[in-house]
């Protein structure tokens, strides 16, 4: 019963997120709204970590597994990607380094300001 209730809480929040997205026609996906709803519930104490401990642990520990079918979908995109692999890898590499450097230095610059 305990696990079923935990699943119920999490799936219920998912549903609430989807519902809000459709009702208010928000540009934010329902599952991301669900994340915000859960965070608000945790912060306000409406839901405690213990109430969802096992199921959230299970999902977080195996997170990558749930992305597998989405990743396998790349088979259908092989035509579109033909001859583009190197460019895609290049964009991924360059921008990842760039994001890391900009983010890191923005924070270091702000931390220096705070310490002064």
């Amino acid at each position: 019963m305990k696990l079923l209730r935990q699943v119920g809480i999490i799936v219920g929040i998912c549903l609430l997120g989807e519902l809000l997205q459709r009702l208010l026609k928000l540009p934010i996906p329902g599952n991301v709204l669900g994340m915000v709803i859960l965070l608000s519930c945790l912060c306000s104490g409406l839901i405690t970590l213990e109430m969802i401990a096992e199921v959230s642990g299970f999902l977080l520990d195996h997170l990558a597994f749930f992305f597998i079918p989405a990743g396998v979908g790349i088979i259908a995109c092989m035509g579109l990607l033909r001859g583009k692999w190197l460019a895609v890898l290049g964009v991924c590499f360059i921008t990842t380094v760039l994001i890391m450097v900009v983010t890191g230095h923005t924070i270091q610059w702000m931390q220096r300001g705070r310490k002064r």
Binding site: P29, N31, G34, M35, L49, L60, F67, C92, V97, Q111
Partner: protein, 230 residues
């Protein structure tokens, strides 16, 4: 003979077996490049190709696994909540830093995609590549990308981040523990976070905290920025 393929069991069992093998190889080699997720996807693609099984057959089970993407996104609130005191103590640098990272991500990906002459659909698929997979998939759909390409780019990005983070931080003098953690989380999501955890407790915690927040900021900014720039 191929009747068993039309039950969802086939896709689910193949995914679990492939993932187990991926985790096994990853643990044996200990290399970031041997990412369990990457290996399992390659194994499944190889299996489907060799036995000439259609992606549709795989997806009968695959769709059931994909159902969990919703709950898996919602649950990302838990790591943010667990680091709430750390977040509150560094609220301004965290928010400004992650926003700077997300804006850099979106603008530089569009810029370099144009430079390398990638079609608009590929560019849109790459834009959410630095956020966590379930959010990246949603952003990709929202801005006209192809989620499968986004997932592949997210994994490549994560591996690049995990492998190169220590070198990049050393060369570019990123030394502050909070800065290192957020820089890794904002550029290479959960896969990068595994490396951040190796670097130190603060780095790991900050990186983990960044995943959900960077996703949220990208969700808000990507549709607006892409309208201006693409």
């Amino acid at each position: 003979m191929k009747d068993f393929l039309i039950t969802p069991l086939f896709g689910i069992v193949l995914s679990i077996v492939a993932f187990e093998v991926g985790i096994f190889i990853n643990k044996k080699t200990g290399l970031a490049v041997c990412n369990a997720f990457l290996i399992s996807i390659l194994l499944i693609i190889g299996f489907l190709t060799v036995f000439q099984i259609s992606q549709q057959s795989f997806n009968i089970g695959g769709d059931i696994i994909s159902f969990f993407l919703g709950p898996a996104t919602v649950i990302l609130a838990v790591p943010i909540y667990k680091q709430l005191t750390l977040l509150k103590a560094n609220l301004l640098p965290v928010l400004v830093g992650i926003t700077a990272g997300c804006v850099t991500a979106i603008t530089s990906i569009i810029g370099f995609s144009k430079l390398f002459k990638l079609q608009a659909v590929l560019c849109a698929s790459l834009v959410p590549k630095s956020v966590t997979t379930p959010i990246g998939i949603e952003v990709s759909k929202e801005i006209g990308g192809i989620p499968a390409i986004t997932v592949a780019a997210i994994i490549i990005t994560g591996i690049v981040g995990a492998v190169f983070a220590p070198i990049v931080c050393r060369i570019f003098h990123i030394k502050d523990k909070v800065a290192v953690g957020i820089a890794i989380g904002a550029s290479s999501h959960a896969i990068g976070t595994t490396k951040a955890l190796e670097l130190g407790e603060t780095e790991g915690a900050m990186s983990g905290l960044t995943i959900g927040i960077a996703g949220l900021i990208t969700v808000l900014l990507a549709p607006i920025l892409i309208k201006w720039l693409l």
